[in-house]
């Protein structure tokens, strides 16, 4: 397995950099679980970073002219193409370094912050292209499971039966009728050096993953679970609680895929909490009938078992 990952010593909470590269005064909602992982990523990556945002909550809350919350260079172009804009930036840095117009030794991180809508749906072509071409950048998908910025419409990342404004819990159709798109599967199939899922509830695990992503040469992708109190109808103070529960119920397992080859389960959940405990905290699932909850429970169990098997079969070789 890649030496930079095999030899990685995790960051200690006391060793974390003190500065933040996102300024307060941004317009995120109270308890926003999407801006939190964004802030933490920047803390790990530091000031030698260029960030690209897709259109979405994070871009809107951080750049209402004349204010910007970004203390590092940042660009927003459009909704679907953040990965490609990042490809352009990374390529320019490569070209300029080779031609001596930028100092060769200086490492500059290129990071994308994009939501689930921008990643699963409208931007999938662009993400796939950037990953396939092997650009050296980090793509962080902040997944709050709907098009939140435009008013909570369903996306490819919206879970089964969730109420959104375009998949409302109506009398005839009871919510979002499709299952969440398997983004980890799609991204892993690109055989990129590093893929990981993460949750702000396990923030050291997440920040270590951001650090690992910055150490690999080539594309790294982190799929971050991001609670949205406004869109999900949850209490603002429950953001971290939900971020832990989603892992402890096996709904959003924490795992890594290295080079598309090796699967590592970061947190084995042997005594899972029932999904109902997670669902009942959220107004977007309030309408669920017991048989629907059972369906979800079954599917969650199936997918977790499958992931455990993948991690057993494709475990990285013992060094």
């Amino acid at each position: 397995m890649r030496p930079e990952l095999a030899n990685f010593k995790g960051l200690n909470i006391k060793e974390l950099p003190k500065e933040d590269w996102l300024a307060p005064g941004h317009r995120a909602c109270q308890g926003c679980g999407t801006v939190l992982p964004l802030k933490l990523a920047l803390k790990v990556l530091g000031p030698n970073t260029i960030a690209v945002s897709s259109t979405g909550c994070m871009e809107i809350i951080s750049s209402p002219f004349p204010y910007t919350s970004w203390k590092i260079p940042w660009i927003h172009v459009a909704f679907e193409n953040a990965a490609t804009v990042a490809s352009g930036i990374e390529t320019a840095i490569k070209a300029l370094k080779r031609k001596g117009k930028l100092p060769k030794k200086e490492k500059i991180n290129v990071v994308v912050f994009a939501g689930d809508g921008a990643t699963f749906d409208i931007g999938l072509q662009f993400v796939s292209g950037a990953l396939e071409r092997g650009h050296n950048f980090i793509y962080i998908c902040l997944d709050n499971e709907a098009y939140m910025n435009t008013g909570v419409q369903r996306s490819g990342g919206t879970p089964f039966m969730a109420h959104t404004t375009t998949s409302p819990a109506g009398k005839v159709i009871h919510g979002n009728i499709t299952w969440k798109k398997n983004l980890p599967g799609i991204i892993s199939a690109h055989n990129i050096p590093y893929f990981a899922t993460a949750s702000p509830g396990f923030y050291m695990d997440y920040m270590n993953k951001v650090k690992k992503a910055s150490l690999v040469e080539g594309p790294a992708f982190i799929h971050v679970y991001s609670p949205c109190p406004t869109g999900w109808g949850t209490k603002s103070e429950d953001t971290i609680k939900l971020s832990k529960l989603v892992v402890e119920t096996r709904i959003f397992p924490l795992f890594e895929v290295i080079d598309g080859k090796y699967y590592i389960l970061n947190r084995k959940v042997d005594k899972p909490k029932p999904v109902e405990e997670y669902l009942k905290l959220q107004r977007r699932f309030r309408h669920l009938k017991p048989e629907e909850i059972a369906l979800i429970q079954n599917r969650v169990n199936e997918e977790y078992e499958r992931l455990v098997k993948l991690c057993e079969v494709f475990a990285p070789p013992k060094e």
Partner: protein, 97 residues
């Protein structure tokens, strides 16, 4: 009724409407959004720093003693800090009108 006015002259805008002052959102105080504010009991606090790490703003700053103090200019009163404090050292208190 005053007519809609631009924030600044078009001649003063940076080309491309770039914002040249990084992090200037700190001038925008979001503290007045909240209805509750966190109150710290220093006796219970173990200075673990999780309140500071997990505040989305971020509104917490470390002081000389190593305690993490909430900057009320920015605190939106979400209550995450009170919720996750391992020692229950933070309580959310209703803001008086």
């Amino acid at each position: 009724m005053p007519r809609d006015q631009g924030l600044m002259s078009w001649k003063e805008l940076a080309p491309g409407m770039y914002i040249l002052e990084p992090g200037n959102s700190a001038k925008f105080k979001t503290g007045d959004w909240r209805s509750h504010r966190p109150v710290l009991d220093k006796e219970k606090c173990i200075k673990c720093g999780q309140c500071y790490l997990l505040c989305p703003e971020p509104a917490y700053e470390e002081n000389e003693e190593g305690y993490f103090i909430c900057n009320l200019n920015y605190c939106k009163g979400c209550g995450i800090c009170a919720n996750i404090c391992p020692k229950g050292a933070i309580t959310m208190v209703l803001e008086e009108a």
